[in-house]
C-alpha cells in the first residue's frame, strides 16, 4: 500500500506551477489543501450539464442536481460512518457548523452551566462559545495545555462536574498538529452526561474517523481541507441533538409552513439548511471524498508519517530551531521558530524560493500566548508532497536562517 506519487501529483495541476521562478513546494496544506483534476472536472461538469436549484423542482435538471447533491450526502455518510443520512447538515464550512451549534446551545443552557474548551483550539472553536456564554450565562472552562503541546488530561478530569453540559475540542490542532485523545474526552464527558463537539476541520485530510464508533455528538468538517472546494462543509449531529437544537437561520427550504402569524419548521436535515446551499460545492465535496478514498487513508496516514519524521529529524539539526508540538500522536504539521528570528522573515524568504509555508498565530492565539511567542512558521504536509520537497524545505530554512542571522 504505497502511494504512486508520480500519478498522484499529475492529478493536481497546481503542483506543476512555478513561484518566483522556482517549482512550487506547497506546504500550507493545513490552511487549505489542493484540488485534483477529478474534483475540478466534477465542478465544471455541474455547471456545463445540470446546474439547477434543488429540492421541490419538477424539471429534469433540478432532479439531477438534487440526486447528485443527495448522493454526496450519502458519500459523506459512508465516509464518516454516520448512522442516518439526515444527521448530516451541509454548511458553508466548519466555522458555520460550530456557530450553528453554539447558537442553539445559547437557548438550551442557563446561567451557571459549564462548558469546557481546550487550550489547543482554533478561534473558530473558541469565539462562538464565548458569544454563546455571554448570551446564556454559561461559564467557559479551559483544559490547559502542556509544554509538549498536548492537553493536560488530569486537569480535564478535574474540570468535569455535574454542571458541565458540553465539551468542545478539536480532533487535531491546526497550529501544532497534535492529535487529541478525543475517544477519552468523549467517554468521560458522556459519563457525566455532557455532550461533545469535535472540530474535525484539521483532522479529516489525514484521518478517516468513524463517527458512530466515536460516539461523538457533533463533528464538523470543511471540504477545502480535504481536496474539496471552498465554501462548503458539514455539521454532523446525533439525531436527538439536532432535533433539540432550535433552527439557526431562517429562509427557504427550512420551513414547513409560513404565515405571518406562525411558521413551522421542516424535518432534518432541511431545518438547518436554509436557502440555496452550495449545490456544486456539496457535489464536489463528495467527489473529493471519493478521490481521497481511492488513494486510501491508511496509505495516506503512513506516508505522511514518513514525511513528518523525515522533516522533523532533519529540521531539528538546524541550530536554534525549536519545534512546538512534540508528541508522538500528531499529523504532518511542523510549527517552529529559530532563535528570535521573526517567523514572517523566514516565511518571506522561503516564498522567494518557491516554498509556501504559513507564518503567524494560525488563528490560535491562546497557544501563542502560552509559549509567549508572536507566532510560528508552520509547514504542513499532504500526501502529494514528496521527500524531495522535504529536502528543499529544510535547505530553504537553513538558507533563510543564514541570511537572517
Amino acid at each position: 500500500m504505497t502511494l504512486d506519487l508520480t500519478k498522484i501529483r499529475a492529478d493536481f495541476p497546481i503542483l506543476s506551477r512555478k513561484v518566483n521562478g522556482q517549482p512550487l513546494v506547497y506546504l500550507d496544506n493545513a490552511a487549505t489543501s489542493q484540488t485534483p483534476k477529478q474534483v475540478i472536472d466534477v465542478i465544471a461538469d455541474y455547471y456545463q450539464r445540470y446546474n439547477a436549484n434543488i429540492h421541490r423542482g419538477v424539471h429534469t435538471l433540478s432532479q439531477e442536481a438534487t440526486d447528485k447533491f443527495e448522493e454526496a450526502r450519502k458519500t459523506v455518510q459512508d465516509h464518516f460512518g454516520i448512522e442516518k443520512t439526515h444527521e448530516i447538515i451541509f454548511t458553508p464550512g466548519t466555522t458555520h457548523s460550530i456557530n450553528l451549534v453554539a447558537f442553539g446551545f445559547g437557548s438550551l443552557l442557563k446561567t451557571g452551566d459549564e462548558v469546557i474548551v481546550s487550550a489547543l483550539e482554533h478561534h473558530a472553536n473558541i469565539v462562538p462559545w464565548q458569544m454563546m456564554c455571554e448570551r446564556s450565562g454559561a461559564i467557559l472552562r479551559v483544559i490547559p495545555m502542556t509544554d509538549a503541546g498536548t492537553l493536560d488530561m488530569k486537569a480535564y478530569d478535574k474540570l468535569l462536574n455535574d454542571k458541565t453540559k458540553l465539551v468542545f475540542v478539536n480532533h487535531v490542532s491546526n497550529a501544532l498538529g497534535t492529535i487529541n485523545p478525543i475517544e477519552e474526552i468523549i467517554e468521560k464527558a458522556h459519563a457525566i452526561g455532557a455532550a461533545v463537539l469535535v472540530d474535525g476541520a484539521q483532522a479529516c485530510g489525514h484521518i478517516k474517523p468513524n463517527l458512530q464508533k466515536l460516539n461523538v455528538d457533533f463533528y464538523t468538517v470543511s471540504a477545502h481541507k480535504l481536496c474539496g472546494p471552498t465554501g462548503v462543509g458539514i455539521l454532523y449531529g446525533k439525531e436527538h441533538w439536532l432535533k433539540k437544537l432550535p433552527p439557526y437561520q431562517g429562509g427557504g427550504e427550512m420551513i414547513d409552513e409560513v404565515t405571518f402569524e406562525k411558521t413551522t419548521y421542516a424535518d432534518l436535515p432541511h431545518k438547518f439548511e436554509a436557502g440555496t446551499p452550495n449545490i456544486c460545492g456539496g457535489i464536489a465535496f463528495g467527489a473529493a471524498l471519493n478521490y481521497m478514498n481511492a488513494v486510501g487513508f491508511e496509505a495516506i496516514g503512513a506516508y505522511e508519517d514518513e514525511l513528518l519524521k523525515n522533516a522533523t529529524d532533519r529540521l531539528s539539526k538546524i541550530e536554534g530551531l525549536r519545534i512546538y508540538g512534540e508528541t508522538e500522536r500528531k499529523t504532518a504539521v511542523i510549527s517552529f521558530n529559530i532563535d528570535d528570528i521573526h517567523p514572517y522573515d523566514i516565511g518571506t524568504l522561503l516564498d522567494k524560493m518557491g516554498i509556501a509555508v504559513r507564518t503567524g498565530h494560525h488563528c490560535a492565539q491562546p497557544i501563542m500566548d502560552y509559549y509567549k511567542i508572536p507566532g510560528t512558521v508552520r509547514a504542513s504536509f499532504a500526501f502529494y508532497n514528496t521527500l524531495e520537497e522535504v529536502d528543499q524545505f529544510v535547505n530553504g530554512v537553513q538558507k533563510a536562517t543564514d541570511m537572517l542571522r
Partner: protein, 140 residues
C-alpha cells in the same frame, strides 16, 4: 542632499544587484543599521498597521527638519523602513510632503514585496507624510 538625490542614490545602489537574493540580503543589512526609535516612543499609538510584523515610527523636529526613527520586530520590515527613512529623514516638512515616491517602483521594491508588505509600505509612506504634515502645520 535633496530627497531626490538620496532617492537616486538608493536606486543606484539597488541597480547593482541582479537577483532578489542579493536585494534581500542588502535590505536585511539596512535593517540592522536602522536608526532605532527610543523605547519610550515604542507605544501602541506609534504602531503602523497593515503588516504581520509590527512597525513603530517616531518623528522629531530639529532645526525645522524632521528626523525619523523606527523599529520593527521583523528584520526585512526593518530594512524597508530603513530605506524610507534614509530617503525622507532630515528634510524639511515641505520637502517631505512634496517628495515623489516613484523611487520605490524604480528599485523594484514593490514588485518584489508580497502585496501584504507592499500595503505595509504604502501605510509607512503615508505615516511619514502625516508626520511631516503635522510639523508643517506647526511651522505655519
Amino acid at each position: 542632499m535633496t530627497v531626490e538625490q538620496v532617492q537616486n542614490e538608493i536606486i543606484e545602489e539597488f541597480s547593482l544587484f541582479d537577483d532578489w537574493m542579493q536585494r534581500y540580503e542588502y535590505m536585511i543589512e539596512l535593517g540592522k543599521s536602522l536608526p532605532l526609535i527610543d523605547t519610550q516612543y515604542k507605544t501602541d499609538q506609534n504602531i503602523i498597521k497593515g503588516c504581520q510584523s509590527k512597525v513603530w515610527v517616531h518623528a522629531d523636529m530639529v532645526d525645522e527638519k524632521v528626523i525619523f526613527t523606527a523599529d520593527s520586530d521583523a528584520i526585512i520590515t526593518k530594512g524597508i523602513i530603513a530605506i524610507l527613512i534614509r530617503a525622507f529623514s532630515n528634510h524639511s516638512p515641505k520637502e517631505i510632503l512634496e517628495a515623489n515616491t516613484n523611487f520605490i517602483d524604480q528599485i523594484g521594491l514593490k514588485e518584489h514585496l508580497s502585496p501584504t508588505r507592499a500595503n505595509g509600505l504604502v501605510s509607512m509612506i503615508k505615516q511619514l507624510k502625516l508626520y511631516a504634515l503635522a510639523y508643517q502645520t506647526q511651522l505655519n
